[in-house]
């Protein structure tokens, strides 16, 4: 075995190893491009160049109303359209800032990437703003990562600045120390216990931003290295659950539009940039990544494109920190309390069915499970199938937020208007329990009579074909290359997606604008039984000679269920596994209880991470790429035949 250790190398774009992917993983399919290191890197650099060039092109000296801070940073970094960039920057910096950490990171990009191109007046204004505007740290994990990474690199740029030159009265040295302490803590918790704001197709961008700032511009080589490794980590986390660039599986946070058009998220922009998958979308976070100089290790594209499918991917995450009502399942990390999130995804080349265990895992925007199927052009597709128990309460709000019992729901709904809506499509629920094995899934519910919205919703998107209510009780459908069988335990009724009109009214805030384009034509199956649930069995179309054969096969599967006193299901899946779930009890597969206690941080044919290890090993064929966060070392090894 040949082994390479990378210590404190800034970016792994150097040609320490030129790998023949064919030798590693067999012959790629005809549709798969060459997966050797050189070709992967060349294609990535070409896409990177496209993004940077188009960003700079938005700047126009004759029209200074165009262009973002990040466009300015790109132009200044390249020394291209400098006059236009400086003029635009002066305009952007004229008013009193707002936006807190979302002001900080584009400014930090200008200060770092664009530093060589700044003139004295711009630099003076920038320093003045960091002295006079107090950006708040926010209250979510991504807020803090952005806040502290931005503060770190700007403090680094303002080397030697005293307390009087900073908004918070701390010197540059103090700001850097505090920032690094938090960021190291976050990395340690993420690589031992799991990420809290996990696997969000939108908010992944809010983690790429701070890590890009550090990977690109942290002057401390060790810290820069660790940030690069965290980018590798985050991108593996995405690559292993993506489908043609779409982030699949259970999500901590999704917005209403992203629920229905799953490709219209930041993650898809990374799919295109990193791996050439999906369709290109202009996103600022991807632009910042390109400016950082980060180059993904080629093994990531090999995993994203050529991992042998189907496979099962398991991941351990955690809930957002719980300040109140932590519950009996809570674990303590330092002095913070959280609950483990057990993710399970079945990743096929044509679809991904992914889930978490249910419960209150994240406030506001949780998607407990979903099915996503392959489409060639995903941008406007609604290739999604899922169920949700819409839940809102001050109990949940005060579990995660420092607001008062009587106002927390209303205040949440002022920015996430769907939070308190009966027809919302993303929600955690304390009354939900989900269990998945392979391409089969069981959802169970125990709804108290006084819960705010006593029903469950299953979304049948407009992209489904051949939706059939069968006399057997199964509802069959086809989503592109996947057949779906859905068996409700209690009857429901069909309603349009905007069945209360709330979502159609713009619920979800600014990110949900344009409901008519993305929200019309879907149907919801709404069931209001107190003890309720469903069974889902999916299968690739290629496994059956016809839709009818799939239906015949599902009808023949043994299924027993009851809804009294609690929902319970025993189901023999298409692969012959006997699945048993009873609300409130540990589910079993072939009578063996699911071992949640042994759930690793990552487990798939392409990656492995033990709980608490601070390590992640990526695998492709004979290739091994190990990220060791404890020792800040990357080890790359290729087994010799």
């Amino acid at each position: 075995m040949k082994t390479f250790r990378l210590v404190f190398s800034r970016i792994r774009s150097s040609t320490l190893f030129i790998v023949s992917a064919v030798a590693l993983a067999g012959q790629p399919s005809p549709a798969t491009p060459s997966l050797c290191d050189a070709d992967i890197t060349r294609r990535y650099l070409e896409r990177r160049e496209t993004i940077i060039t188009s960003a700079i092109a938005t700047l126009d000296a004759a029209d200074t109303a165009k262009g973002s801070y990040l466009d300015v940073a790109a132009a200044l970094q390249r020394g291209d359209r400098r006059a236009a960039a400086l003029a635009r920057l002066a305009l952007l910096n004229a008013p009193t800032p707002n936006g807190n950490m979302f002001w900080m990171y584009p400014m930090a990009a200008v200060v770092t990437a664009g530093r060589e191109g700044l003139d004295a007046a711009s630099w003076a204004r920038i320093q003045e703003l960091w002295k006079t505007y107090w950006p708040s740290r926010g209250d979510t994990e991504n807020h803090w990562a952005i806040y502290y990474a931005s503060l770190y690199v700007v403090a680094q740029a303002f080397a030697g600045a005293g307390p009087e030159q900073w908004f918070n009265g701390q010197s540059s040295t103090e700001n850097m120390a505090e920032s690094r302490a938090y960021l190291e803590h976050w990395m340690r918790v993420t690589t031992t216990v799991g990420q809290g704001e996990y696997d969000s197709p939108g908010y992944i961008g809010e983690y790429v931003v701070p890590l890009s700032l550090l990977a690109g511009w942290a002057e401390d080589a060790a810290f820069r290295q660790k940030a690069c490794m965290m980018l590798d980590y985050i991108f593996y986390d995405y690559a292993i659950e993506q489908l043609n660039g779409q982030y699949a599986g259970a999500h901590s946070r999704v917005y209403p539009r992203q629920v229905l058009q799953p490709a219209q998220v930041a993650a898809s922009s990374f799919g295109w940039l990193l791996f050439g998958l999906g369709e290109r979308q202009p996103r600022g976070q991807a632009l910042l990544l390109t400016l950082s100089g980060y180059t993904p290790p080629p093994i990531l594209e090999r995993i994203a494109r050529a991992a042998a499918r189907p496979y099962v991917n398991r991941e351990l995450k955690r809930t957002r920190w719980r300040m109140r009502h932590a519950g009996p399942d809570a674990i303590t990390v330092g002095d913070r309390r959280t609950v483990p999130v057990y993710k399970y995804s079945y990743v096929d080349r044509d679809f991904v069915l992914g889930s978490s265990q249910g419960g209150l895992l994240q406030p506001i925007q949780q998607q407990t499970w979903n099915l996503r199927w392959h489409v060639d052009q995903p941008l406007d597709a609604s290739n999604t199938f899922f169920a949700v128990q819409p839940y809102s309460s001050p109990y949940e709000g005060t579990m995660f937020f420092g607001a008062d019992w009587d106002t927390v729901t209303e205040l949440i709904a002022r920015s996430k208007a769907d939070y308190d809506s009966p027809d919302k499509l993303a929600s955690g629920s304390p009354h939900e329990q989900v269990f998945q094995h392979g391409p089969a899934l069981i959802g169970l519910y125990d709804l108290p009579p006084d819960t705010r919205f006593p029903h469950i919703i299953t979304l049948f998107s407009r992209d489904l074909r051949q939706v059939t209510e069968d006399a057997s009780g199964w509802i069959f459908a086809q989503g592109g290359p996947v057949y779906i069988a859905y068996r409700p335990l209690a009857a429901g009724t069909w309603k349009p997606n905007d069945w209360t009109g709330h979502l159609a009214g713009g619920a979800g805030g600014f990110i949900s604008a344009g409901f008519k384009e993305w929200g019309v034509g879907h149907r919801c199956y709404v069931s209001g039984a107190q003890h309720n649930g469903y069974v889902v069995q999916v299968a690739p179309v290629r496994d059956f000679t016809s839709y009818a054969k799939f239906q015949d096969a599902v009808r023949a599967l043994p299924l027993q269920f009851s809804t009294s006193p609690m929902a319970a299901v025993t189901f023999t899946a298409l692969d012959g596994s006997v699945l048993h779930a009873r609300y409130g009890a540990t589910p079993t597969v072939n009578t063996k209880p699911v071992d949640y206690a042994a759930w690793p941080l990552f487990a798939s044919p392409s990656g492995w991470a033990e709980r608490g290890s601070q390590q992640l090993e990526l695998r492709h064929g004979a290739e091994r790429y190990r990220l060791d966060f404890e020792h800040n070392v990357i080890t790359h090894a290729i087994a010799q035949p």
Binding site: N100, W134, S136, R137, G138, D139, W144, Y148, P163, E164, F167, N168, G169, Q170, E178, S179, A181, Y182, H185, W321, M323, R324, G334, D335, R336, G402, D404, W405, D406, T407, L411, R414, S415, K416, A417, G509, F510
Partner: protein, 332 residues
């Protein structure tokens, strides 16, 4: 006993011979106009000027819960905020965050009146303490069953003693927050607001979540429910008149303003005239005897000079109040 120390913030007691009125501040978030946003349109401290207008004071930071001034030097100010504790040593001209990354969501803060180098703060992730007047901070969680806290009051009669409102009721320290002990007869719920009488320091009042108002007549050592009329309410506000130990007030969500004039034996609803019965802050004015201030949820601040029988507009429309603070001018 040092009379200046007795004039500390939150005591509402003016020392003999004092002639300078206290500065009146409100800690608020402007949430009324907050649309499609998770952040208020403005937030922080507002100081009431002599002409009745409110002027923003100090840094604009999210989640400012209160303000505390050093009892012997009112130029030393501490702000509890979502970002941590922010300190000024020059009367608010400059500010410095004195907590690290791991301190957040600070809701309440109190100098020890008899030893003001000791400062205690309640955060929603556990209390913290300072032994150098807020310049540096340490965790102070020993003995707590639950870490959520949002109200803390330092006992003005005993140095090192403070009462803390937690998710698990009331806890007491007698060693300057190095350890905490649960008060046996504490309300069995989250305690939202604690207050100590300036006239009779044995008299304490608590507002709680879902359990209404509780009263202690023995310095916080034993507690009993009071005011059956709000027994199940969420009471966010509690105040005791610094000029008359008989007069108490509590306020909350749906409960409006409730007043007692007999040390808690009986209570009356005094919400008539307020635009809404959702009250988050109450304070008796230390400079105007008998005046009671009330902060409603987003519908403005009001004051009454007849114990709530009538109310007058006090400004700050749209505000979601966290605290009223009267800061006597005390120069070292």
């Amino acid at each position: 006993m040092n009379l200046r120390l007795l004039a500390s913030l939150f005591t509402f007691v003016l020392p003999a011979g004092a002639s300078t009125p206290a500065q009146f501040y409100a800690a608020v978030a402007m949430t009324k106009a907050q649309k499609n946003s998770s952040t208020p349109t403005d937030s922080g401290l507002y100081r009431r000027e002599a002409d009745g207008t409110w002027v923003h004071f100090g840094p604009r930071i999210l989640g400012i819960g209160s303000l505390a001034a050093h009892p012997a030097d009112s130029a030393v100010l501490l702000i509890p905020s979502a970002d941590g504790v922010v300190r000024s040593a020059d009367g608010g001209h400059t500010w410095r965050k004195t907590t690290g990354w791991n301190v957040l969501d600070v809701r309440s803060i109190a100098f020890d009146p008899l030893n003001p180098t000791q400062v205690y703060a309640a955060t929603q992730w556990g209390p913290i303490r300072s032994a150098d007047a807020g310049a540096t901070w340490q965790p102070a969680q020993s003995g707590l069953a639950q870490l959520y806290t949002q109200t803390i009051v330092a006992d003005r009669t005993q140095s090192g003693r403070a009462l803390l409102g937690t998710e698990d009721g009331i806890y007491v320290t007698t060693d300057a927050a190095r350890s905490w002990t649960r008060v046996a007869s504490s309300p069995p719920t989250t305690v939202l607001r604690l207050a100590q009488s300036a006239v009779d320091p044995r008299l304490w009042l608590a507002g709680t979540q879902h359990r209404g108002a509780w009263l202690s007549h023995d310095g916080g050592r034993s507690w009993t429910p009071t005011d059956l009329g709000s027994a199940a309410a969420n009471l966010y506000a509690a105040s005791l008149n610094p000029h008359d130990a008989n007069q108490l007030a509590v306020g909350g969500w749906g409960a409006g303003v409730r007043v007692s004039t007999d040390r808690g034996a009986t209570w009356q609803d005094r919400s008539a005239g307020l635009p809404v019965k959702h009250v988050f802050v109450l304070a008796f004015d230390p400079d105007t005897q008998g005046r009671l201030w009330a902060s409603t949820f987003e519908e403005g601040t009001f004051y009454s000079d007849d114990l709530g029988r009538t109310w007058r507009d006090g400004g700050l429309y749209g505000a979601y109040g966290s605290d009223f603070i009267f800061v006597p001018t005390v120069l070292r």
